[in-house]
């Protein structure tokens, strides 16, 4: 099953998005939150993201949902550090973090491939709320 990593500047936000997405997900699905700094402060930590990617990974790959700015840069740095191990098995979805995470969790839960899960997350960009 494709794993999911939630990267946010805020630990609470990452945990919250994980909780929301888990409501819709299969119990086997690994969703790992990598939010905030080691001391709980606001920021992103590429090494923490590295550990989350390793924890979320199975043979099927990992999709990353991130908020903005340094969350993307730190996630890309973490991916580069793990490149030899996982290479193209890890991808960042260009998607809104909440809607994207929920869509990705559903798609991953029904056995979607890495490409399908990314596609589902990115489709959430066009989701109309009203």
């Amino acid at each position: 099953m494709v794993g999911i990593v939630i990267v946010s500047h805020s630990m609470k936000l990452a945990e919250g998005v994980k909780d929301l997405a888990e409501q819709m997900a299969d119990q086997q699905l690994k969703i790992i939150a990598a939010g905030g700094m080691e001391d709980g402060g606001i920021g992103t930590d590429a090494m923490k993201i590295c550990r989350a990617l390793q924890a979320a990974n199975s043979a099927d790959g990992v999709v990353v949902l991130a908020d903005l700015g340094s969350a993307i840069l730190s996630a890309q740095t973490a991916m580069e550090l793990l490149d030899e191990e996982y290479g193209s098995l890890i991808s960042i979805a260009d998607a809104p973090i909440v809607e994207g995470a929920i869509s990705a969790a559903i798609q991953a839960s029904i056995g979607g491939t890495l490409t399908e899960v990314i596609h589902a997350a990115e489709e959430a960009r066009g989701l109309l709320k009203l």
Binding site: G43, T44, S70
Partner: protein
């Protein structure tokens, strides 16, 4: 000796960033999220603590350790940018036991490439590259003219100063400041400024210790 000089240079950088913490944060308050000074000071404090606890005898290993520490302690975009810069600078330093000006130029060039790869930025977008790239060119020109290490560093500092001034005249295209559009005009870039602070600290350290 090598490890003492290396540690001394990094401590000098850390102290200089500490002195400029409020200034950098103030610059970032004007066009960003008001955390650059705080983030850089936290990062370099962690770096010095790591190096004191586990002294590095090898230049490349030391640079790599600095990069990894900045990745996990800075917090803002400067974490992955400076982190990548130091880790890339470690590549040409591999197996070298002595710091030469030629190696310095190679390290600076590798660091710049790392920042470009990570941030997808080029010069003229109001980023750290706007002081770092002119500094590299001035440094390399100094080498070509057979100037000494210190003089090359001084030339790099002058070019970086001009680069920081230049950032006041351009619109931000990357990061939080890019949301401000034309309102970013007239403000100097905090990242370009921290590059200059680091370069000045290194130059002053070299002057005192050579």
């Amino acid at each position: 000796m090598m490890e003492n000089l290396f540690l001394g240079a990094i401590i000098a950088i850390k102290e200089s960033i500490d002195c400029n913490k409020e200034f950098l944060t103030e610059l970032d308050r004007e066009i960003g999220d008001a955390d650059h000074g705080i983030n850089m000071a936290r990062g370099f404090e962690a770096v010095v603590n790591k190096l004191l606890a586990d002294p590095q005898t090898d230049l490349a290993a030391g640079l790599k350790k600095i990069g990894m520490t900045l990745l996990s302690t800075v917090g803002g975009a400067s974490g992955p940018l400076y982190g990548t810069a130091f880790m890339r600078a470690a590549i040409p330093a591999q197996g070298k036991t002595e710091a030469s000006k030629e190696l310095g130029a190679e390290m600076l060039q590798a660091a710049i490439q790392g920042i470009k790869d990570r941030g997808k930025a080029v010069c003229g977008e109001k980023t750290m590259l706007d002081s770092m790239e002119p500094a590299y060119h001035a440094f390399a020109e100094g080498i070509a003219k057979d100037k000494g290490f210190l003089e090359c560093l001084e030339l790099a500092c002058c070019a970086a100063e001009e680069g920081v001034e230049y950032t006041k005249t351009i619109i931000a295209k990357k990061g939080r400041a890019s949301y401000l559009g034309e309102r970013s005009l007239g403000h100097q870039d905090p990242g370009a400024t921290s590059v200059l602070i680091i370069l000045r600290a290194l130059t002053d350290f070299y002057r005192k210790n050579s």
